[in-house]
């Protein structure tokens, strides 16, 4: 796993590069914090901190467990099927969810009424529904193809491994 220390020998160049990267990075970070405090009203800063904290919590405590649960459920539901089919279904769900994550705010903003009719002019709700439909059809077609391919391969005599 990622906790294993790298086997690479820490050469002199590597160490120099790391020192420079961390030093320049720390400077950039400090500059960012300075610009933030300098340009944003003090009473707005708790809001920024809140959003950063909420983003971490939302990802680590909501999105990640959902994705993990999705993985377990699809693998269990598809235990008789080839891995490729499970992955295809997982990919379709992930793609649909990702696009929903991006487009639902657009639908919400559209519902609130854009400042002029050239902002958000499309029918995003319909397009999102069509996107999910396309994903369902495409993943079904790929799954059928994978299923037939696996079944055909299983009918053939077992090949010996070189």
């Amino acid at each position: 796993m990622m906790t294993t220390p790298a086997p690479a020998l820490p050469s002199r160049r590597m160490r120099a590069a790391r020192v420079v990267l961390v030093a320049v990075g720390a400077l950039g970070l400090a500059l960012g914090v300075y610009v933030l405090v300098d340009t944003v009203a003090l009473r707005r800063l708790p809001g920024v901190a809140l959003w950063i904290g909420a983003a971490i919590v939302l990802h680590d405590a909501v999105i990640s467990p959902l994705v993990f649960g999705l993985g377990v459920l699809t693998r269990r539901a598809g235990h008789r099927l080839a891995g490729g089919i499970i992955v295809t279904v997982q990919a379709a769900i992930v793609l649909g969810s990702l696009m929903s994550l991006l487009v639902l705010p657009a639908i919400a903003a559209q519902g609130l009424g854009p400042k002029n009719p050239t902002i958000l002019p499309l029918d995003y709700a319909r397009n999102l529904a069509l996107f999910w439909l396309t994903l369902a059809v495409a993943s079904a077609l790929i799954s059928v193809w994978l299923y037939l391919r696996t079944r055909r391969a299983n009918r053939r005599p077992v090949r010996t491994q070189s």
């Binding site: 796993m1 990622m2 220390p5 790298a6 690479a8 590597m14 590069a17 790391r18 020192v19 420079v20 990267l21 961390v22 320049v24 990075g25 400077l27 970070l29 500059l31 960012g32 610009v35 933030l36 800063l45 809001g47 959003w51 950063i52 904290g53 983003a55 971490i56 990802h59 999105i63 993985g71 377990v72 693998r75 269990r76 235990h79 080839a82 891995g83 992955v87 997982q90 992930v94 793609l95 990702l98 696009m99 991006l102 705010p105 657009a106 903003a109 854009p114 002029n116 050239t118 902002i119 958000l120 002019p121 499309l122 995003y124 397009n127 069509l130 996107f131 391969a153 077992v158 491994q161």
Partner: protein, 426 residues
């Protein structure tokens, strides 16, 4: 606690979650971040130049390209960042969580990096929808967080450099599961092999007692996917996701993708005279002044003032140019403009070549009521005081009676409802 953390990491283990995958996705995400940072800085300095700065006026669609790239790369960050976080997620459950002051700093910087990155791309996306549900100003926070993110990115790369270097290239020898053709026999073998590497009962949590135990044995019973299928599936998902989020929105700036622009916040050709609008005449409260019969454009250059009515401007030699309107929010629209060359107008008003100009709009308030234009744009033959758009008299929403249009500048600097042009004394 140690057991719990161990259990979490064991349950989250996946063939996808390895340093090589983190390097592969990390490189792409790093590239997208740097593209966003570079194009973002360019856009920032175009709008708030330092005194010594001059900018290229060619290619005329330069800003369309840089800002289009900014938004496209920013949208691509959504699947890439989520994929990167997916790959490294088990790291959250490292135990002990902190071993030294250095690891405390490192983990704190990672938390800031992740949180700031998520907020940065989210508020960027919401800004393209012109929706501001957050309790802070967009522009300043988006700008400041960019430095926080790039800074913590460099720190992160510095910390992980040996790991990145050793996984920069794929391992030269294929793992044992790579050598089998995809058939169910090989998959079963791989699944058994993987299952064998899972938590043994004495290391992890006890099974079958209480709710936790039952949930864990339920998860244990879920069959594993073959490692190769997992990895390829993951990479294919990320690739298709990037292609989908970019492909289905980029048509708002990249004309060849216009036909599949189904999720872009703007659509080419939608708007008065086929051009989208950002700030309306109602928002700017200019209708009365702009439609008034005694409107004049006043040029204050070299100590003299001269005023031009719309008829005076129309009587001067007219020039046709094709230039895009390219907005900070990532959309752009090519259009045909007709009007007076700015440099001819400056000459006619007695201005000297090489002066920077201050452009003042009829609007009474608004951040871009008064903007500055460097002499490189003033002297450019493509820069017009435009009177017509796409063959018609300029619509009020597009800046009637006269607006500025120059190559390679953001839309907010293409001042609409022009009222006054002044030389900036050096």
């Amino acid at each position: 606690m140690r057991r719990l953390m161990y259990e979490a990491r064991a349950q989250l283990a996946s063939p996808v979650r390895n340093p090589r995958m983190a390097t592969v996705i990390g490189r792409l995400l790093g590239l997208a971040f740097l593209l966003c940072f570079g194009t973002g800085l360019y856009s920032h300095f175009l709008q708030q130049p330092l005194p010594w700065m001059t900018f290229p006026t060619r290619p005329a669609g330069l800003y369309q390209l840089t800002q289009g790239t900014h938004i496209v790369a920013g949208i691509a960050c959504f699947p890439l960042l989520l994929a990167k976080l997916y790959v490294v997620f088990p790291q959250l459950f490292r135990y002990p969580p902190v071993t030294s002051f250095a690891t405390l700093l490192e983990r704190a910087s990672i938390a800031l990096f992740v949180g700031a990155s998520l907020v940065e791309i989210t508020i960027g996306l919401l800004n393209t929808y012109q929706w501001y549900p957050f309790p802070f100003p967009f522009k300043q926070v988006h700008f400041a967080l960019a430095f926080v993110i790039i800074g913590s990115l460099l720190v992160h790369i510095g910390v992980k450099l040996p790991l990145i270097a050793s996984h920069w290239r794929a391992a030269p020898t294929a793992g044992p599961e790579e050598r089998h053709p995809v058939d169910t026999v090989a998959e079963d073998t791989a699944a058994v092999a993987l299952a064998a590497t899972r938590v043994s009962a004495d290391e992890g949590m006890p099974r079958g007692r209480g709710l936790t135990g039952r949930v864990l044995s339920y998860i244990d019973a879920a069959p594993e996917l073959p490692a190769r299928t997992s990895r390829r599936g993951f990479l294919a998902t990320v690739a298709v996701a990037v292609a989908a989020v970019v492909g289905l929105t980029a048509g708002q700036t990249f004309a060849p993708l216009d036909a599949v622009n189904v999720f872009g916040p703007r659509k080419k050709g939608v708007g008065q005279q086929g051009v989208p609008v950002n700030r309306t005449s109602a928002q700017a409260k200019v209708a009365t002044a702009a439609l008034s019969a005694d409107w004049v454009l006043t040029l204050a250059l070299g100590g003299t003032e001269r005023s031009f009515s719309r008829a005076d401007l129309a009587a001067l030699p007219q020039t046709d140019v094709d230039l895009p309107i390219a907005c900070v929010e990532g959309w752009s629209q090519m259009a045909a403009w007709r009007g007076v060359r700015l440099r001819d107008l400056v000459d006619a008003a007695g201005g000297s070549p090489g002066t920077d100009l201050r452009l003042i709009s009829l609007e009474q308030r608004g951040g871009f009521r008064q903007t500055e234009m460097g002499s490189e744009y003033v002297r450019d033959p493509l820069t017009l005081v435009a009177l017509e758009l796409n063959g018609e008299t300029l619509d009020l929403e597009h800046g009637y009676p006269a607006r500025m249009i120059a190559p390679g500048r953001p839309g907010v600097l293409q001042t609409k409802w022009l009222s006054r042009i002044e030389a900036i004394d050096a």
